[in-house]
Every structure is written in structure tokens, then in C-alpha cells.
Symmetry: C2
Subunit: 178 residues, 2 copies
DNA sequence: ACAAATAATTGACTTTTTCAACGGTACGTG
DNA sequence: CACGTACCGTTGAAAAAGTCAATTATTTGT
């Protein structure tokens, strides 16, 4: 028999069946803690964490985001973005360019080295994600992503409110992680 | 192609459609940040946060968990449980009782006042959860909870590996949040 | 031209996280 | 039984993360 049985505590099942077992805030927090730890462990080999990986991803994506847009998107204080960008810029993975349209703002772009590192890191990230979702069918995987997008971007669904319909679902999501 | 709205920042849509838009770790982190903030705001009226609410919930549930079980379940360091329990015990909401079966361990039980407060706080928590999931059908809500449980408790589904079947799904989840 | 608002940055401060120790207790082996 | 090992709760210290107000440079509206 596997040694994992020994580590299982008798109270764990009872706790999982408690009121918190149906609490979405708790489930979200615990799932996030586990995935974040796994992601950080996998990204460490590239000298990144989930935070810096996210910044690098958005810089490498060509979206040319300003630091403030990053702050709002990642739900971080602008001052934390400064430190994050400082670190990546010191490693020459991204650059600050003053936005010609608004010279107060910095637009972030990845260097060649940054894009190269991101490509490698993304492989690790994807592997981790697929590993943790190994027990889930691809359809369920997509469904989970769709539902999480609804929670993560609450005011997105009403953006094209002219029709009153939400355009979420398979059509939008089939693009990713195919 | 949905026409982007004037009120929204130009970069936001681009960021949401970037690589991170399909990254489950990011979606989980952002959804968690939003729900946690909403939950904390709602629980503040009862002098609780999500953390203390969780501890109180498990103590009030009759599962009589030890602090170590709590630590593992909530994915916190045991030392953080000490502070959490200290706070709730000082307010006479829970009690530490040395486990008669193992005098090293403390078993946590809620007082009458603790159960009463939890009942009220649970109403707030449920209201918040339903509010944030207002754009989601009850079936989708349950489906999300089921999928999150898979992520939050990775080794649960494999526990009865003899059959190779998972027993997750509607039968199990219909009990909660009816 | 001028006042108000905004982007990035800095610094101070609080909270959270992480880790290593310690005393008290349980448990297996000899 | 005695003993070493492993464990539970607790403490404290250090690192990381989060919060917030103030500052400078720039934009925007009047």
C-alpha cells in the first residue's frame, strides 16, 4: 500500500464535508494557494515567480501595457508594480518606454531575451497547469476557465449590453490551451 | 468582433485577451483576490475576516479539529493558527480543549456565542457569494464548486482508486447552499 | 494660464509569510 | 521500563507582501 495512506488524517474528511466545503471563497483560496505554490516552484527554475511571470507575459504579449494598467489587471498596488518592473528591467528582460501619447506613463515591452525566457517559462507554467488538472477532461478544464473568467472580470459580461447576451463560452475560449 | 466601449481603458481588453487570459493560475488568483476582498468587507461587520471566519466555521461545525488539522486544511503555517485561535478565544467565541486522546493537541470547539455569531456571519458570507455569482445560473454555480473542489483537494478523487471512478458531482454537492 | 487630475515613484508603516527553535507529549524498539 | 524519535502547539525573528500618504512630472479641462 502507498505511504500516502499513513499521512491521511482522520479529521480531514470531516473538515472537507463541513460548511466550508461548500464555501466558494474558501475553495477559491485553497485552490489558489495550491496552484500558486506549484506555479512558483515550477517558475523558480527560470528565476521567476507567478507575479514576475505575469508581468513578463503581458510585456511579451505586445499589448504594451502601462504600469497602471498592469496594477489594475493584476490587482496590485502601483508601488508593487514598480518593484516588479525594476527586477525584470535589471535583468534586461523588459524595458520601460515613456508612452509617447502620455509622457507620464511607462509602457512595458519585453526584450528579445525577455520573450525567449517567457517562451520557456510558459512551457513550465502550462505543464504545471495540465498536471494539476490531469483528473479533469479538457471540456471541464475549459468550463472552469470560463467560469473563473466570470468571477475574475465581473463587469466584462455586461460590456456589450446592447444585446443583453453574454458571449462567453466555447467560442471565446476554444482559442486557448487547445 | 465586439466594439470596445469608450468608458473602458483601451488596454484592458487587450490584456484580458492576452496569454494570461487563459492562464488558470492567474484567473484563480484574480478571482480569489476579488472574492476575498468582498468577503472581508462583508465579514468586517462581525469583527471577522475570511481567515477567522473559516476557523470559527470549523469550530462551530462540531468536527472538533485540532490546530494542526486546521493548519493543513486552511493551508496556513501552524503558527498562524495560534494567532487566529488566540483572537477568537479572547473574544470567547471558541475554546481550546486538550484532546483527551492526545494531550499534545488542542481540539477547538465553538462556544454558544461563537455559534451564534457564526450563524449571523454565515448569512453575510452567503449573501456575498450569491451576489458575486449573480450572473451565473445555480447549475453553473454548483459546477464551479465541484471543479474547484477537484483543484482544492487533489488527492481526494483518487482515494477510492480501486474502482478508478470519481464520485464527484451533483449527488455530493446538492447538499450545500440549497 | 491656471486648477484639478493622473502616472510613477518613494518612504513609512502594518500585515502576512516563512522558518528555526523549544517544551511537552506520544510511540516504537530494544 | 528506558530511550530515541517524531509530533503538537507555541514563540520569536526575519523576509516578503500589502497599504497608504506625499512628491514630481505631466496631462486635461476651463
Amino acid at each position: 500500500m502507498p505511504p500516502s495512506e499513513k499521512t491521511r488524517l482522520p479529521g480531514q474528511d470531516a473538515l472537507r464535508d463541513s460548511v466550508l466545503g461548500g464555501d466558494l471563497v474558501f475553495l477559491l483560496a485553497r485552490a489558489n494557494a495550491l496552484m500558486l505554490a506549484a506555479a512558483n516552484a515550477a517558475l523558480a527554475e527560470h528565476g521567476l515567480k507567478a507575479r514576475s511571470y505575469s508581468v513578463l507575459a503581458l510585456a511579451a504579449d505586445g499589448a504594451r501595457p502601462t504600469q497602471r494598467e498592469l496594477a489594475e489587471f493584476l490587482r496590485l498596488d502601483p508601488s508593487q508594480i514598480v518593484a516588479l518592473v525594476d527586477g525584470l528591467e535589471k535583468r534586461q528582460l523588459i524595458e520601460r518606454r515613456t508612452d509617447p501619447a502620455d509622457r507620464r506613463a511607462n509602457v512595458l515591452v519585453a526584450t528579445d531575451a525577455g520573450r525567449a525566457l517567457f517562451a520557456r517559462a510558459q512551457e513550465s507554467a502550462r505543464a504545471v497547469e495540465l498536471g494539476l488538472l490531469a483528473t479533469v477532461t479538457p471540456e471541464e478544464h475549459e468550463r472552469l476557465a470560463d467560469l473563473l473568467r466570470l468571477l475574475a472580470f465581473p463587469d466584462w459580461a455586461v460590456s456589450d449590453s446592447r444585446t443583453g447576451q453574454r458571449s462567453r463560452g466555447t467560442a471565446r475560449s476554444a482559442r486557448h490551451l487547445g
